[in-house]
């Protein structure tokens, strides 16, 4: 339908854009201006999880088993919920110890074991090669469908075409070129491949848009609304099946197992580990990615079921492969360019996966398979290895792609897309037990991991790979039906004669059971070596360590600085070596040229640098060739580790304690200040009170003495003196009463009796009480009160005390001809009592202070104070206790008005 040329030009144009983006990404990274350093690019790059298997295969699987394609995306969604602490721990470990791949991680964790590294690499290759071939198959077959449509019967089987006319080969070559160009720029594999990541993120965007485009087209253009597809499908029995699940033990167990292995796949597939951990720029990006990536999965799967149903309806009765519905649906309805866009989406899904996977695998092959061998070759002992290393990685990329291509040509045709993918997932699931147990359990041992992995891998081979060889005709088919040597309990799909599982579930259940069981049992029964214990502790407790720990004496022997730098030069090249050494000198503020004997810290540093280039296990071997002497003893080492973590623990606790102490001290200081102030006030109070009491006492004593001495005093004179004595005693009594009142109020021991009272009555009563004083001074007291009762909640006696006090003051301080007026205003929630006099008024600066205790206004006429200086202070306290306000308005010469504002209701005091 579309001419071959159009498709080719578009494909190469698209790949050209990818090269451009990658080039730009690397350029920006070199300039120190990263374009990938944000959580969105990070989340998009994780979406490399979605390969052609998602792009084409999901619809294919949905067409057969309905929602059965979903577990592959639900698993990652679920585990992403805990990435924030799980993945962050992995990233922290990997950055700290310069981990380059999943193989390196496991090797490092289990005592830098070269064997584990190699084993993981072998499992990964065996598991991933079919997966890579699946991508090539998808690209090649969709290319053929696109240009041969509608003559689909002419789409050739891969065995029928010569290698040179096979699109898949060229695709493989271009991808290899891309991976080599952008994946092997640095000798240090822990350095990020920013260009590659930028390109991958772009590809994720393209495949999402392409899939959404075809989804929208099918759902809203072909069928107008999603409901139509489902109601059409519901009419035919075989199709309505698709929105159901089979309700059997087999289907539910399969559902669970698929969820489980997809959880493992999204973290432990070499390419996933690469983008999640190695290419991570900033741990904090994990936070957003934890929900953005699931959101991506959600979006790309939303239209899968509708498309599958639409395909089923459209191609009912014809033999169109459900795996290519996304492509054939737009083609059937003549939407050429939509189909072309979909094809590009599929191409981006394939290339993204292949590029990252080959880069990740090449690092593993080179570091964990080739380098250990190279290091043992005598002839290379003194050669410069850095360019050799890079070339090994380049060759590994070519080799991986070549193997993928060969698998595709000779075995891959027999399977649907999804089945091949699931076989890979089952292989990668073997990494989960040692990885997860090793991450949280220090006891997990190297021997346990090695045996667990080996047996798990063997069971996987036996239950999934051998049968596929039998199906392809390489070994007799009776192997599947009758079992090895004709023993039914050894049938590869039904081990131990258990027949409830489908092949994938069956394989995963047995291999993971064996893998985990062996790891746990052997770890519990065996001994760990020194190296293992150290690594276990470093990994599990990664968040508890401080940089202090680096440079701890993991190496007990001695080494010459020149030997160590020699190693760096051989493996990293002169330039990289110089840069690394400069970094070290700067950080530690020393000059290496002046030192001969390396300290443990420098040895550790060199080992880490080497780890980044050749993996932890090989770096260990290299270092051991130049360090003379023995490993430190286990006791010394564990003690150092324990001490360091204890010291850190202690210092944390100390810091906390000292913080607590500091707050306590502050608290104490404040309390102390307050107490001092109170003490001062108390002293002042006592001295004032004593003084106040002494004045009347003195005059009482003086006059009494006069009376005593002079018995013959005349009556008139004696009466006068006795009158003075009575007044002074009254004054003294009043003073003592007020002091008692005041201390009660002050200390809060006074018991208040709140009740509903009529303020009008209270005021009248108060005026009656002070009537005597008014008469004796011939003062005019007038009132201006509302007719109705004004009810407020208050302590009756106290309020009376306030009013009496104010009125008495007004009378006392008024001039010759005292006029006092008392007014009451009802102001809604408040009442306002005003006591006005026609006295000399109160100077402005005194208006605040008259409410202070012992503040007395000196009478201008007599020069003597009138009262005790406590009256207003008591009034103020009473009013405030009622949550009211008291203040004075006055201007000298025009009298003064005391105003009390009281709320009508009291909130429970």
């Amino acid at each position: 339908m579309l001419s071959e040329w159009v498709i080719l030009v578009t494909s190469f144009g698209y790949l050209g854009i990818l090269f451009g983006i990658a080039y730009l990404g690397d350029k920006r990274a070199d300039a120190g201006n990263s374009i990938i350093s944000n959580p969105y690019i990070y989340a998009l790059s994780i979406a490399v999880y979605c390969t052609t298997w998602t792009f084409y295969g999901s619809v294919g699987r949905a067409a057969v088993s309905g929602v059965g394609f979903l577990p592959i995306y639900l698993g990652p969604t679920l585990i992403a919920a805990v990435w924030w602490f799980l993945l962050r721990k992995i990233i922290r470990i990997s950055k700290t110890f310069r981990i380059t791949s999943i193989a390196d991680f496991l090797a490092s964790r289990f005592g830098k074991s070269a064997f584990i590294g190699g084993l993981v690499t072998v499992i990964a290759i065996a598991g991933i090669i079919p997966y890579i071939s699946l991508q090539l198959k998808a690209v090649s077959s969709t290319f053929n469908v696109l240009h041969l449509y509608p003559a689909l019967e002419r789409v050739p089987k891969s065995v029928e075409i010569t290698i040179w006319s096979d699109t898949a080969l060229y695709v493989a070559i271009i991808m290899a070129l891309f991976s080599i160009l952008f994946g092997t720029r640095h000798i240090d594999a822990t350095e990020r491949h920013e260009g590659m990541v930028a390109a991958i993120a772009f590809e994720s965007l393209v495949k999402l848009l392409a899939f959404l485009a075809v989804g929208f087209y099918v759902v809203f253009v072909l069928f107008e609304k999603p409901g139509d597809i489902f109601s059409l499908a519901a009419d035919s029995a075989p199709m309505s099946m698709l929105t159901h699940m089979k309700t059997s033990l087999e289907s539910y167990s399969s559902w669970f197992v698929l969820t489980l292995i997809s959880v493992f796949a999204v973290m432990f597939l070499p390419r996933q580990f690469q983008v999640l951990v190695v290419e991570n720029v900033n741990e904090e990006h994990v936070k957003k990615a934890s929900w953005l990536f699931p959101l991506y999965l959600f979006a790309i799967n939303l239209f899968v079921v509708p498309i599958a149903l639409a395909g089923k309806i459209t191609f009912f009765g014809s033999s169109v492969d459900a795996d290519i519905f996304v492509l054939t649906l737009p083609l059937t309805y003549g939407e050429k360019f939509l189909a072309l866009f979909v094809y590009i989406g599929g191409l981006s899904a394939a290339t993204g996966m292949v590029i990252v996977e080959t880069i990740a695998l090449s690092t593993m092959v080179s570091n964990d398979l080739v380098v250990p061998v190279l290091l043992r070759i005598k002839a290379l002992q003194h050669e410069n290895l850095s360019s050799l290393l890079l070339n090994t990685r380049r060759l590994s990329i070519l080799l991986v792609l070549l193997l993928g291509y060969l698998y595709f040509r000779f075995i891959g045709e027999a399977y649907a897309l999804v089945s091949i993918g699931l076989i890979s997932f089952a292989a990668v699931a073997q990494f989960a037990p040692p990885f997860l147990l090793g991450l949280f359990w220090k006891g997990a041992s190297r021997r346990g991991a090695a045996w667990g992995l080996s047996i798990g891998f063997a069971i996987w081979m036996y239950t999934l790979i051998f049968p596929s060889l039998a199906i392809a005709g390489w070994i007799p088919i009776s192997f599947i039906d009758e079992g090895l040597f004709g023993i039914p309990a050894l049938r590869p799909y039904h081990l131990f004669n258990i027949e409830v599982f489908d092949p994938i579930t069956h394989s995963v259940v047995w291999s993971l059971l064996a893998n985990t069981g062996i790891l746990v049992i052997m770890s519990l029964t065996g001994q760990q070596s020194v190296q293992e214990k150290i690594q276990a502790k470093l990994f599990v407790d990664v968040f508890k360590q401080s940089p202090m720990l680096r440079g701890s004496p993991v190496w007990g022997g001695t080494a010459r600085v020149s030997d160590l730098t020699g190693l760096l030069v051989r493996l990293l090249g002169q330039e990289n070596c110089n840069r690394a050494l400069e970094r070290y000198e700067r950080r530690h503020g020393i000059s290496l040229s002046s030192i001969k004997e390396a300290d443990a810290g420098f040895v550790e540093f060199v080992e880490r640098e080497l780890s980044g280039a050749i993996g932890a296990a090989s770096a260990r071997v290299m270092i051991s060739t130049v360090v003379e002497g023995e490993d430190v003893s286990i006791d010394t080492l564990m003690r150092v580790l324990d001490e360091t973590s204890q010291v850190i623990e202690y210092s944390h606790r100390l810091e906390e304690k000292s913080r607590e102490l500091e707050t306590a001290t502050q608290e104490l200081k404040r309390t102390n200040e307050r107490l001092k102030e109170l003490d001062r006030l108390k002293d002042e109070f006592i001295s004032t009170v004593s003084h106040e009491l002494r004045t009347p006492l003195t005059s009482i004593r003086a006059f009494s003495e006069i009376l005593c001495d002079d018995i013959d005093m005349d009556r008139e004179k004696r009466r006068e003196l006795l009158n003075i004595l009575v007044t002074e005693t009254e004054r003294l009594t009043r003073l003592v009463n007020e002091i008692l009142d005041f201390t009660k109020l002050e200390s809060g021991t006074y018991s208040w009796a709140f009740e509903e009272v009529d303020l009008v009555k209270v005021i009248r009563e108060s005026l009656r009480s002070s009537g005597q004083l008014a008469q004796s001074t011939s003062a005019q007291v007038s009132e201006q009160l509302p007719r109705k009762a004004v009810m407020i909640v208050a302590d009756r006696d106290r309020i009376m005390q306030v009013i009496i006090n104010l009125v008495t003051n007004a009378i006392k301080y008024s001039g010759e001809n005292p006029k006092v007026e008392i007014r009451l205003h009802d102001e809604g929630p408040h009442v306002r009592i005003e006591v006005a006099d026609n006295g000399p008024g109160i100077p402005h600066e005194e208006q605040e202070r008259i409410f202070e205790k012992f503040h007395q206004i000196t009478d201008r006429r007599t020069g003597k104070p009138h009262g005790t200086g406590l009256g207003l202070s008591i009034c103020k306290r009473i009013v405030e206790y009622h949550r009211g306000r008291i203040f004075v308005q006055s201007s000298p010469g025009h009298g003064a008005t005391f105003i009390v504002i009281l709320p009508k209701k009291q909130v429970a005091p």
Binding site: L78, F230, S231, A234, T247, F256, T259, F298
Partner: protein, 64 residues
Amino acid sequence: MPEFRKKIERLTALLIGGILLLNFPLLAIFHRDALWFGLPALYMYFVTAWALFIALVAVILERS
């Protein structure tokens, strides 16, 4: 630090809840012929539960 722990606890609970909700036997509840809003019940259930799960993760993580 307690804030951090709280988040971890919530996320872990969410993970366990998600695993339970998306597996037998809870899944079997929605396994019926009914149509919800014109779409099959099981399909609707997946779409809703999935979206809800993602939203909850986002809320827990992004709320400061």
